[in-house]
Amino acid sequence: MAQVEIKNLTKIYDGGVCAVKSASFEVADKEFVVLVGPSGCGKSTLLRMIAGLESISKGDLLIDGKRVNDLPSKDRDIAMVFQNYALYPHLTVYENMAFSLKLRNFPSNEIKARVEEAANILGLSEYLSRKPRALSGGQRQRVAVGRAIVRRPKVFLFDEPLSNLDAKMRVQTRVELIKLHRQLQATMIYVTHDQVEAMTMADKIVVVMGGEIQQIAPPLKLYKNPANKFVAGFIGSPAMNFLNCKCSKESNNIVLKAENFSTELSGEKFSSLSLNSSQEVTLGIRPEDINIATSENSNNIFLANVEIIEQMGNEIFVQLSIDGYEITARLPADANLRVGEKGQFSFNKEKCHLFDPISEKTLL
């Protein structure tokens, strides 16, 4: 059983800088939780507090129900994979992985068994006698993971392990890590700034910004129901488009009027909102929810200028402008558009979001 619970964890540095503000979440046994957020948002600090590399200013950290705030790292039964791998340069791959076991006086046949087992899982068996400097980035990363595996810890901690790899390696390793999780059936807490990694790997994502947790949810829920504008804009690529609009209640529907853009949002979803006339809201539309206007979706048509077309092969990203607003749309590759021309577009109003412009919380 390896369950991690964080209650109001806070980190305040000397000088008053508050890196983590009262974070709380739970990691269930065998769960893969990803902490995601932009650089400097405090996610690494949070991970390091769990690891014991940073002291906890306030709050409680519980592993399997036991409070471990004051326990040193080595007694928490955790293993960590660092961003820069932190391999011992003077030891071979075998010795790197065996190091922690040696320190704990494991018998050498037990050490051998575990190291070889980990090496097998990670495909490192032929590199056991090499030193880190003779390995490629991807191999070094695997050694770092191997070092964690042999410990058979309660919790695995990953601190942006893929950032130092090239793009192709990253994709490959991502898949391997997912497989590893399935194979080892272990509790894993993973930190990254890449929302793609978060979305593809996590059972549950914790979005962090400015030291505060913005939302905790499984990937799909995060995508469909973001709690605030930040989460909405962070998850999904290309990012969601945001338009500042004003309401006007006409005919029991909500009509949003931006500069040169007006749309009527009708239906049960919208009528349950109690919006005032001339209240300001932010409208969020994902690029993939924008289509070229056809006769079927004539309700939310708007006119826009085609500024830039980016060819992706199977689709195109189109930069549209509506007199001052720039929005991005994801359209099929065969869309008949030309740069500089105006076109008629519509968006899927079932999938749009509304945010309060000041608190940035989701209204819908």
Binding site: A51, G52, L53, P72, S73, K74, I78, A79, M80, F82, Q83, N84, A86, L87, Y88, P89, H90, F99, S100, L103, R104, R147, R151
Partner: protein, 312 residues
């Protein structure tokens, strides 16, 4: 840069190289050979004292033979060895200890770093002389400080006592030279990435285990360097001994003890012995001795490199 060097570039290179080469050949290259040449010669009765070097006579291996048979020769080598054993490990330990202390991110660390390095750049002769003053029996600072806690230096002082003279000089040299090792170790330690220590924390290493399994192995190149430099210093040791060794007989071989039937100076290291031969104008023997020393030094350097398994 791996194409065959062309003539023009070689020519230009050599023009730049000429001043350095000239001085090197005249004062370093040629002397090495000249030394060998001289080692087979000796001054005799018929030597013209105004033109010594040209009028020494060929004596074959006589110089080497008389050196090898001379007790003082072996004595000086033995002393050099004990001096090296006294200074090298302590310099390394002391320098390492200082570097570990200074590795904390405390304020004022930079001040201490400079303060410890300062004695290293000072003139050895002058510093040695001042230590003689401090160490003098009955009046020196050390004696007075010790007397306050009830101890006293031996009657004739540490430097005149045959059993402590060498150790005292070694201590002074180590204290003075600590800064050197400290700086080398400090920069090497600071080059070790912090995350390795964090990984060790998580792996469960105690402070001592971290030192032993991570820090020290990664400092091996520095340690090797210090051993080699230390050996060089021991073989070359002259100034510190000249400044500090005392002897009732006016020379500077240090206080005398009996060894193998002769009375030999207790601080008569190889460097000193070499100088004594030189002073007595026994140039042939001086050259022979130099050569033997060089061979010994080279052997030691290679042995050390092999022993610590680091490629130079």
């Amino acid at each position: 840069m791996n194409t065959r060097p062309n003539l023009r570039e070689s020519l230009i290179s050599y023009i730049f190289l000429v001043p350095f080469l000239v001085v090197f050949i005249v004062f370093l290259g040629y002397p090495m050979l000249y030394s060998l040449y001289l080692s087979f010669r000796s001054t005799t009765f018929s030597t013209d004292w105004y033109n010594i070097f040209n009028s020494m006579e060929y004596v074959g291996l006589a110089n080497y033979r008389s050196l090898v048979l001379d007790t003082r020769f072996w004595w000086s080598l033995g002393l050099t060895l004990s001096y090296a054993v006294l200074t090298i490990p302590s310099s390394i330990a002391f320098g390492l200890w200082l570097a570990l202390l200074l590795n904390n991110k405390l304020k004022g660390v930079a001040f201490f770093r400079s303060a410890f390095y300062l004695p290293n750049v000072l003139d050895m002769y002058v510093v040695g002389t001042i230590w003689v003053l401090i160490l003098s029996p009955n009046y020196g600072l050390l004696d007075i400080v010790l007397s306050k806690i009830g101890l006293h230096l031996p009657e004739s002082g540490l430097l005149a006592n045959p059993y402590t003279a060498l150790a005292t000089i070694a201590a002074v040299v180590v204290i003075k030279g600590a800064g050197f090792g400290m700086i080398l170790f400090l920069s090497a330690i600071q080059n070790i990435s912090e995350s390795i220590y964090e990984a060790a924390d998580i792996d469960g290493a105690s402070w001592w285990q971290k030192l032993r399994y991570i820090t020290l192995p990664l400092l091996k190149p520095v340690i090797l360097f210090m051993i080699i430099t230390g050996t060089m210093s021991a073989i070359n040791a002259f100034t510190e001994i000249y400044a500090m060794a005392s002897s009732k007989y006016g020379g500077f071989g240090g206080p005398y003890i009996q060894f193998n039937g002769e009375s030999v100076g207790v601080t008569s290291l190889s460097g000193l012995y070499l100088y004594q031969l030189f002073e007595r104008a026994e140039y042939g023997k001086t050259a022979a001795f130099s050569y033997l020393l060089m061979i010994i030094a080279l052997i030691i350097s290679f042995a050390n490199a092999k022993l610590l398994k680091v490629d130079k």
